[in-house]
């Protein structure tokens, strides 16, 4: 009895003396949804978009709230942690980062090297390694933008990325894990998508923006930043980014515009909707050089044809397929040229070489700054199948002529 009692006492004390450990009530935390990191001279400027729960929740349940669903503020410090620590000087709530849904890094930091940022986030207990990364010219500006199409805070960027990934196939969401794996790899180069603000930025920073039908300004996905180690090496345009996606086989569902007479200049007038594709990349050794053979096979249908073509003729369909193939080849070549220019192996050729010709890769590995790219020749074979032409066969314009 006595012994039992003696065991029970510390257990009870544990309950009451632990002081409720790391307890934090919901109304004592500020939920951060986006973090932006800029640098001014030697000071880190960290900006936070913090949710205002009462208005944010009202938005998510449909009713319009009073006041903005989020507020932003910036703190500075000599290190990132110090800057974040300094929030305690002005923010009554303890910032809570576990629901941070994007980290936006300024272009300046990206060019200098993102290592300090990555290091901080990999050590952080609250932040998750699955937070997507973005680059913007001035990162904190992105946080000021309100968007009426996505009233729930913290959902805009991840959702935009998801759509961009699926329907445009230009960008892939890059989170800390992806970035670290790519940047530390000997063979692959890391990428981070860029965010740009188009239109009037000031117009989107107040609640008035949410009551207008047309957005004054908006956040868009811009170029794709290609990294050499941890430094931003340059930008790939959307077309080049798509070329990269073709090579890495990440294309899912995209529209390809083309001219139905094969002209390369002038605006294209027709569109091909890709529904399925397969990409095969085969490295082959030819003497001292490496030949990369890229076989692209696509299936899809045409969704716009604005020239007088008789699509019931298989010949015409084949001709059109040829033009589309040219178009795809152009994208691929542009991406390849840019990659060589930036010395960034964004498409992961080195991996392919390592997989198939391990000895060759050991030889190439020594060349600094991804110099091995110079020794690779890319040969592109594109095979486009047009499975159907939609529910209409003859272009409408030719119906009028008859």
């Amino acid at each position: 009895m006595n012994r039992k009692f003696l065991i029970c006492v510390p257990v009870f004390l544990l309950l009451f003396l632990s002081g409720c450990g790391d307890i934090r009530e919901l109304n004592e935390i500020g939920i951060v949804v986006y973090t932006a990191i800029d640098k001014k001279e030697d000071q880190w400027l960290v900006s936070y978009q913090v949710v205002n729960p009462s208005t944010a929740a009202r938005n998510s349940t449909g009713g319009g709230g009073e006041g903005a669903p989020v507020f932003t503020f910036t703190t500075s410090g000599e290190t990132l942690q110090q800057a974040i620590q300094n929030t305690n000087l002005e923010e009554p709530r303890r910032l809570f980062f576990a629901h941070n849904s994007a980290v936006i890094i300024s272009e300046e930091i990206a060019r200098e090297g993102v290592s300090p940022v990555i290091d901080y986030y990999l050590r952080s207990i609250e932040d998750r390694a699955t937070e997507p990364l973005f680059i913007a010219e001035k990162a904190m500006d992105i946080l000021d933008m309100l968007d009426p199409s996505e009233p729930i805070p913290g959902r805009l960027l991840p959702n935009m990325m998801e759509r961009g990934e699926k329907n445009m196939s230009k960008y892939e969401e890059v989170d800390f894990t992806d970035f670290v794996i790519a940047a530390t790899s000997e063979s692959k180069s890391a990428v981070i998508p860029q965010l740009v603000i188009t239109g009037d930025k000031e117009g989107q920073t107040s609640m008035d923006a949410l009551s207008k039908t047309r957005r004054a300004g908006t956040i868009k996905l811009g170029n794709l930043g290609a990294f050499n180690k941890d430094k931003l090496a340059g930008w790939l345009t959307p077309e080049e980014a798509r070329g990269v996606a073709w090579i890495t086989g990440e294309i899912e569902e995209i529209y390809i515009t083309f001219d139905c007479h094969g002209k390369k200049e002038g605006p294209p007038q027709s569109t091909y909707l890709l529904t399925d594709s397969s990409v095969q990349l085969t490295p082959r050794l030819t003497g001292s050089r490496i030949e990369m053979e890229l076989d692209i096979h696509t299936e899809g249908r045409v969704s716009e044809v604005n020239c007088a073509y008789d699509l019931s003729q298989p010949d015409n369909i084949d001709k059109m397929a040829g033009y589309i193939e040219e178009r795809i080849s152009l994208d691929v070549e542009a991406a390849w040229a840019k990659a060589k220019e930036l010395n960034a192996d964004v498409m992961g050729f080195a991996n392919e070489i390592n997989n198939r010709h391990r000895d060759k890769w050991k030889e190439l590995k020594g060349i600094p700054d991804k110099g091995y790219l110079e020794q690779i020749d890319l040969i592109t074979n594109v095979n486009v199948d047009i499975e159907n032409t939609g529910i209409n066969q003859t272009p409408f314009s030719s119906l009028i002529k008859e």
Binding site: L14, L15, F16, S18, C20, G21, D22, I23, R24, E25, L26, N27, I29, I31, V33, V51, P53, S54, A56, A57, R58, S60, T61, F96, A98, H99, S101, E126, R128, I152, P153, G154, R155
Partner: protein, 526 residues
């Protein structure tokens, strides 16, 4: 034998008790002396009735009975039978002491169960059981005739265990009725029971019932021995018995099941369990019992197997929800906010804006309020009870939210927890869950999920250590018994449940022949 630790401890007591028992004074041959004695012993209570009858002109008989607990019609029949013997000529010689009594008893046996009484203690017991005692002048032996009566509740639908499909009769307060309800269902001569009087003052009839060639003999012996070891002055309800014979007192979990339904008791008897029926309460006891059994209902065997399996899984889920939900809510919202989907976190955070108390205080406030409402609902007069408790819950809940004292989610959590608690079929198990909920709330407020995990581990260790009459409480999960899995979380079709629970060690293991699965008739080969 280590299982029956309790028996060894109490072996000594039984012998002591027998030594203490004394025989009462024997009856006097003088009728007046006997009357005086009875009056003296009963304090000349008004409801003890004396009616004298003279037969054969010179033999004075006295009928003694207690008004209210005996049936007047039957007493009158007894008197008529006695008077008829006046005309009867061929009575044996009268001056031999016992002959009159013997002949009268033979005659009375035709209308009622009779027995001899030779001392005052037995006489009083018979009187107090509602029997009529016939004392003759000049004889030291009296006759007791079975004439119990009085007002009794009729067999009604059980109020605590209602079913959609299944028999609608429930036990009453009368032990004879209750036994007959079970006899009605099991018509085997092997259904045995022994009635014992327990309680010095109340002399309550307690029947231990079992099926002779099914129930484990050691189990029956154990139950009987534990019953016999009870020395108390009163048994007013079966819980009095339960608390005296259960294995472990300091636990929230019941180790003996109480049932109001004769069909459920019959089913338990057929599995090889022992039932204890106590006079004066409609709740019969069943032992041994396991936790899994407490989560089952009689109706589980009257509905389709697949649906019952779904229900059982639902009950198991509800068991954990009822115990853990408020704790998990507190743990997530105060320790592990990262676990919530972002949008849900926003709305939870919005609701907590302006709530003055920490989540644990808020939860305790609501839970205690609910417990008060519930207890008040039981006490309140039936007519207003239901409406007041609903109104109280709704108004109090809504008003508390609007006043900003508690958040709306907390009201949802508390009410959902309360509803899941009602799914648990056994009331005294659901009580255990209700109390444990508070423990888990405090643990989670202090340590988050770590606390809940620790609590669950302690609970598991505790449950694994409990036994009910030698059967581990968590049977058939721990110890794991594959054959009993057919009727634990799952309910296999009845033809698949062809063996009695192994854990009960039944004398007769098979319930039915092995291949009872219905199948179309085989074609006769031509």
């Amino acid at each position: 034998m280590g299982l029956f630790r309790k028996r060894k401890r109490q072996g000594g007591k039984i012998q002591e008790k027998q030594a203490v028992e004394q025989e009462g004074d024997s009856l006097s041959s003088q009728l007046d002396g006997n009357i005086k004695k009875i009056k003296e012993l009963t304090g000349n209570t008004d409801d003890v009735m004396y009616r004298s009858v003279t037969i054969r002109g010179n033999y004075r008989l006295l009928l003694v009975y207690i008004e209210g607990i005996s049936e007047v019609d039957r007493i009158n029949t007894v008197i008529n039978t006695l008077l008829q013997s006046n005309e009867n000529e061929d009575l044996p010689v009268l001056n031999e002491n016992e002959n009159l009594i013997n002949s009268l008893e033979e005659r009375l046996l035709a209308i009622s169960r009779c027995s001899y009484v030779e001392n005052t203690d037995d006489l009083l017991t018979e009187l107090l059981s509602g029997n009529t005692v016939i004392i003759a002048d000049g004889f030291t032996r009296a006759i007791s005739c079975n004439t119990p009566g009085g007002k009794r509740r009729a067999v009604e639908e059980p109020s605590t265990e209602t079913v959609i499909r299944g028999p609608k009769d429930g036990f009453t307060e009368d032990i004879r009725t209750n036994i007959s309800l079970i006899r009605d269902r099991i018509k085997t001569p092997d259904l045995w029971y022994k009635i014992k009087k327990v309680g010095k003052q109340t002399q309550t009839d307690v029947a231990v019932m079992y099926i002779n060639n099914i129930a484990d003999r050691r189990l029956v012996k154990e139950v009987v021995e534990r019953l016999e070891s009870i020395e108390t002055d009163s048994i007013l309800e079966s819980n009095y018995i339960e608390e005296f014979i259960q294995d472990e007192t300091y636990t929230l979990f019941p180790q003996i099941q109480n049932k109001e339904r004769p069909d459920a008791v019959a089913a338990a008897l057929l599995e090889g369990r022992v039932a204890i029926i106590v006079n004066g309460t409609p709740f019969a006891l069943i032992a041994p019992v396991t936790l899994a059994m407490l989560m089952q209902t009689a109706e589980d065997y009257y509905q389709r197997p697949l649906f019952v399996t779904f229900l059982r899984l639902l009950r198991t889920f509800s068991f954990f929800v009822a115990m853990l939900l408020p704790g998990v809510y507190i743990a997530i919202t105060t320790h592990h906010q990262e676990m919530l989907p972002t949008v849900l976190l926003f709305s939870l955070a919005a609701q907590r804006e302006g709530v003055p108390f920490p989540a644990i205080v808020e939860a305790l406030l609501m839970e205690v309020t609910f417990e008060i409402l519930r207890e008040a609902g039981v006490r309140m007069p039936k007519a207003i009870g239901a409406s007041i408790s609903i109104v109280g819950a709704l108004v109090l809940g809504q008003a508390a939210v609007e006043a900003g004292v508690v958040s709306a989610v907390m009201v949802i959590i508390v009410s959902f927890t309360a509803i899941t608690n009602f799914i648990i079929p056994t009331y005294n198990l659901s009580v255990a869950v209700r109390l444990l909920r508070f423990a888990f709330m405090i643990l989670s407020a202090a340590f988050g999920f770590l606390g809940i995990l620790a609590g669950l581990l302690i609970l598991l260790i505790h449950l694994a250590g409990l036994r009910s009459f030698g059967v581990p409480y968590l049977t058939p999960m721990a110890p794991f018994i594959l054959s009993e899995q057919k009727d634990t979380f799952f309910r296999f079709p009845l033809w698949a449940l062809n063996a009695r629970p192994e854990s009960l060690n039944p004398e007769n293991k098979r319930r039915m022949s092995a291949n009872m699965k219905p199948s179309p008739p085989k074609k006769e080969s031509s």
